[in-house]
């Protein structure tokens, strides 16, 4: 029966099913089965947390790695395996905090108390003042002992932000508990800052075990391509074997392609983390439709173009000719005065010189019109005032800076639809 149904999957169903599966994978909704390239760290973490859960040994550890290097994923995988142990399942309390959410110790304490379901919690409310909560929690942790009370795992995401709390009270107390014969705790901090230990006060630092797990990806490019292939392939238990075979075959072929390799290498050179890779692949996968049910290199090229597009280049395309001329005038000013700030009057003069000298296609604009165009550029933040208007200067004489790179202007000119030739020439000429 099921076989008949699976065979009956139409092309459209197959495509949408495959897309759903891949999207789940690429949007980090599901933990991967095994963390890629982090085996030793995985073992270390698992062993550490297992000892807390099983032996009641208190520990503290920091996981340090750049953004997108898989810190949360690693911890998620470790916790998943840990919780699947029968010995551990009912024996561990987990408290998860995030430095971006718990911005001070008061909120953090309430959250800890809530997640531990201590006795001063009714429903979702925590009773008592900040001082009472702290005393209560410390008393609770102090009463426990190594052999009889449940170990508590504290996960502090964005650990560095906790170090900015007043007096670092929370960190001191958690780490102090981890270094004294009280309820066994494991304090796991996740951070992307390499200098996080320098943020800790010395008495807090002394209580931290100095155990740091670094996640630096040392992937080579060929491993990277392997990961891409694995990420895009459909699993063997996909309901429609014919579709998945075809799909997997096309993915393998795609990865060997020269242009695709170039795109991937470019991405790899930019950053090695998987988050940026996932966003690239996600865009490509989304372009698959019923009409072409496999992933093609054109999809990847398009996705790459979208991802690597300069954010300001798009803004420049929407400008009027007058605004573009003003930008060019500013560029010339930048060249002549070596990046010194300018004001509207200077830009206007430069523009007038150009009009007088060789303007055939652009007619003369009144000064208020030019001013209006200039203000539009100000609104788009393509120019910015040097100091945000502390002193009262007439608007024409306020000093400004151009927020565009030389290259960005030239590129925009190349792509600008129907750009007058004399404007182009003006932009290319070495002097205004």
């Amino acid at each position: 029966m099921s076989k008949r149904r699976s065979a009956a999957l139409t092309g459209a169903q197959g495509v949408s099913l495959a897309q759903k599966l891949l999207r789940e994978r690429l949007c980090h909704q599901k933990l991967p089965d095994q963390p890629v390239g982090l085996d030793s760290q995985y073992k270390h973490m698992l062993e550490l947390l297992r000892r807390t859960a099983v032996h009641g040994e208190s520990n503290s550890v920091l996981i340090v790695g750049p953004r997108g290097s898989g810190k949360t994923m690693l911890l998620g995988c470790v916790l998943r395996e840990l919780m699947s142990l029968r010995e551990v399942q009912k024996n561990v309390l987990l408290v998860e905090l995030n430095g971006l959410l718990q911005t001070d110790d008061k909120i953090a304490l309430k959250e800890i108390t809530r997640q531990l379901h201590l006795e001063n919690v009714v429903g979702d409310k925590v009773f008592g003042s900040f001082a009472e909560n702290l005393a209560f929690l410390l008393e609770a942790l102090k009463k426990g002992d190594k052999s009889s009370s449940r170990p508590v795992l504290f996960v502090l995401d964005e650990f560095d932000l906790f170090a900015h709390h007043k007096n670092q009270t929370l960190l001191y107390n958690l780490l102090d508990v981890s270094q004294s014969a009280q309820t066994p705790v494991a304090v796991v901090g996740l951070t992307c800052r390499l200098d996080v230990l320098e943020l800790l006060e010395k008495r807090v630092k002394s209580r931290f075990s100095h155990r740091q797990i670094h996640l630096f990806s040392s992937l080579s490019f060929s491993q990277y391509v392997d990961v891409v292939r694995a990420q895009l392939s459909l699993p063997p238990d996909f309901p429609d074997p014919k579709f998945s075979d075809e799909w997997n075959h096309s993915v393998t072929k795609l990865c060997d392609d020269k242009t695709v390799e170039e795109i991937l290498r470019r991405n790899f050179n930019g950053s090695k983390d998987f988050r940026s890779l996932h966003s690239l692949l996600f865009l490509a996968v989304s372009r698959v439709s019923v009409s072409h049910s496999t992933l093609r290199e054109a999809d990847l090229i398009e996705a790459c173009r979208l991802i690597s597009a300069d954010s300001k280049a798009n803004v420049l395309h929407g400008l009027s000719i007058l605004e573009l001329c003003l930008i060019i005038a500013m560029k010339h000013l930048n060249d002549t005065y070596d990046g010194e700030p300018f004001n509207f009057q200077m830009v206007h003069n430069e523009f007038k010189k150009f009009i007088q000298r060789k303007s055939h296609s652009i007619h003369k604009f009144e000064k208020p019109v030019v001013m209006k165009a200039f203000e539009h550029l100000l609104q788009l933040e393509l120019v910015r005032p040097v100091d945000s208007g502390v002193c009262k200067v007439q608007r024409e004489y306020q000093l400004m800076r151009l927020m565009l790179e030389h290259g960005q202007v030239m590129e925009a000119l190349q792509k600008y639809p129907q750009c007058p030739t004399d404007v182009k020439q003006w932009a290319l000429s070495a002097f205004g």
Binding site: H55, R67, E119, R203, D310
Partner: protein, 622 residues
């Protein structure tokens, strides 16, 4: 529910009843049989007479002292009384409570026979009479550590017989009290502890128990628990017990954990002795004093003080020195310096109060003379956190011990040696006095001794490995915690490598080296080596731009120009500004670069957080 505090504010007047029954010419005293107390706003007078149980004003308004009146006399000016003290369960030291062997009734009182406390009180502190019901005379081990002969087993049996009816009585009486709170008067159950008792006094209590009280002067509810939904702080217990260490390495690891309490504290004998002598002398003399202890983290300050207190408590238990109370507060474990008062008060009397009220109560407690006061030893950890602008918390902490009747010993701990000079104003520093001690960082020999004594003949380390760890830590910080942590990590590494190749099974040099490397080596170089090509190029561009400018700071725009040029040199496709900015932000988020003013976009200021040489070294190697 009237509280005694309201009564305190009422004026009481005291008057002798009848003629004096005797006179002592030498002392110019006249003895009386009874005294009447009239309270403002009450029509009836209360009378207290000899042999009756009375309440005496104390520092806890809810629980005044209880005593039996023995003598009443006047020396012409002042009315005085001689009393036999009784104590409530809450006044009995914690470590003696368990000697009772059962749960006490909340209203139960015990005979107090310590000669150290004054049995003469001012007659005007008497609050009134109290009725004592259910006099149970039993033979019981002395609860209060007086010198009493222990009872033989046979007599213990007697006391069991005695208890059975009394318990049921207690229950029924407490039930009654809850139902009829308003008209029940203070009922206290006397539990006599037999010591050097005279039969006369037992007779007396019987008499007083039989005689109904003539004049009920006050109505108080018994001290039943005030908050019925009082939450107890606790962590749920685990379903399966924790596993015990299995092999030598696990055993060693458990012993090396900072939390495990060692049998003794090696290498701190001198400091131990100094603190011990200080506290002991103060406890014996019944005076007060302050001591300031300083030292860098991990040098065993708190551990030593705890060790001192432990051994002092032991000798107090053996009655070598008078009893004392130990209270500990930690500046880091409170949210606000003024919470110190609340915590001290709560630990002393189990009362809850606001900081201001607590300060007032403590002030009163430490400044008024009170009978049967034992010395309080107060440990203030992380003293520097108690700093406030007016420094009133510190001032009070150091001022109380100087009061005549305070009997308070304050031990303070902080990290910095010159804290008194640096942050304290003169009047605070002066009160702290000059009793100071500083804990030096451990030397490598001491660290080695600490580990060896902790391991206590569990053979898990090679001698050389231990020496390496202690030398390294001693050179860096002298922090014993660090030393123990490294050893612990080394055992883990040894365990892992041990499963692959069979070594001696001991933790050797290589394992220790690896652990040291993990903990002390800077991660910047590894981070640069593992960075992506563009990130490495960007760092190189930063250095190139710094060299060009001759400054240690550049804007993003300047660096980006260099970056583009480098890309071309390396044969890579130049990146767009957005991508370049993303690379820059990534480096900034792991603090390889320091970024300032990220809203400035192209004019973002960039500085290096690593030395240029480190960057070049890291980039050259590959």
């Amino acid at each position: 529910m009237s509280r005694y505090i309201t009564r305190l504010r009422m004026r009481r007047t005291y008057k002798w009843n009848g003629r004096p029954i005797g006179e002592d010419r030498k002392l110019k005293r006249q003895y009386y049989e009874s005294m009447s107390i009239s309270v403002e706003g009450k029509t009836e007078d209360a009378t207290v007479s000899l042999g009756q149980y009375i309440l005496i004003e104390g520092d806890d308004d809810d629980n005044p002292f209880v005593a039996q009146l023995r003598k009443l006399y006047t020396d012409g000016k002042k009315k005085s009384a001689v009393v036999q003290w009784f104590v409530r369960m809450c006044e009995v030291p914690q470590n003696k409570r368990k000697l009772l062997g059962r749960d006490p009734h909340p209203q139960e009182i015990f005979l107090y026979q310590d000669r150290s406390c004054d049995n003469e009180v001012d007659g005007e502190t008497i609050l009134g009479a109290v009725q004592v019901s259910y006099v149970i005379i039993c033979f019981y081990r002395n609860l209060l550590g007086n010198k009493v002969d222990l009872l033989s087993d046979g007599e213990d049996g007697d006391d069991d017989d005695c208890f059975v009816p009394s318990k049921t009585d207690l229950q029924s009486s407490s039930d009654e009290e809850e139902e009829a709170k308003i008209d029940s008067e203070d009922e206290l159950v006397v539990k006599k502890c037999r010591g050097s008792r005279t039969p006369r006094s037992t007779e007396k209590t019987r008499v007083s128990a039989r005689t109904p009280r003539k004049t009920p002067i006050k109505k108080t509810a018994p001290a039943t628990p005030r908050t019925p939904r009082h939450a107890t702080p606790s962590i749920p217990s685990r379903s399966a017990p924790a596993r015990k260490p299995g092999n030598v390495l696990e055993e060693a690891r458990a012993r090396l954990h900072v939390s495990s309490v060692p049998e003794s504290l090696p290498c701190r004998e001198q400091e131990f002795q100094d603190i011990y002598n200080f506290v002991e002398s103060k406890v014996i003399d019944g005076t007060g004093g302050c001591m300031y202890i300083s030292g860098v983290p991990g040098t065993g300050k708190t551990a030593t003080v705890h060790e001192v207190i432990r051994s002092l408590q032991q000798s107090a238990e053996q009655d070598e020195i008078p009893h004392f109370r130990f209270i500990e507060i930690n500046g880091m474990k409170m949210t606000d310096p003024h919470q110190a008062y609340v915590q001290i008060l709560q630990k002393l009397t189990d009362q809850k109060a606001t900081p201001d009220h607590a300060a007032a109560l403590l002030e009163k407690r430490f400044s008024t003379p009170a009978p049967k006061k034992e010395t309080t030893v107060l440990l203030v950890d992380e003293l520097d956190l108690l700093w406030t602008r007016k420094q009133n918390v510190m001032y009070n902490l150091f001022d109380w011990p100087t009061r005549r009747n305070a009997r308070l010993v304050v031990l303070t701990i902080a990290n910095t040696m010159d804290l008194p000079e640096r942050i304290m104003i003169n009047r605070v520093a002066s009160r702290l006095g000059l009793t100071r001690m500083s804990f030096q960082p451990y030397t490598f020999k001491q660290l080695q001794q600490i580990i060896t004594s902790r391991l206590n003949r569990v053979k898990a380390f090679e001698e050389d490995a231990l020496q390496l760890v202690s030398r390294k830590v001693a050179a860096l910080s002298g922090d014993a915690r660090r030393c123990l942590d490294i050893c612990r990590r080394a055992t883990e590494i040894c365990e892992h490598s041990g499963s692959q190749k069979n070594g001696s099974g001991l933790v050797g040099m290589s394992h220790v080296m690896e652990a040291l490397d993990e903990m002390f080596s800077s991660s910047y170089i590894a981070a640069i080596r593992c960075a992506s090509v563009q990130e490495q190029l960007f760092l190189r561009a930063v250095i190139a731009e710094f060299r060009r400018l001759g400054l240690e700071e550049a804007t993003f725009q300047q660096v980006f120009v260099q970056h583009q040029a480098l890309c071309r040199v390396e044969g890579l496709q130049p990146v767009s500004v957005s991508e370049g900015l993303a690379v820059c932000q990534r480096l900034g988020s792991c603090r390889l670069l320091l970024l300032e003013g990220s809203r400035l976009d192209l004019f973002l200021r960039i500085r290096l957080n690593v030395s240029q040489d480190d960057v070049l070294y890291a980039l050259k190697a590959d």
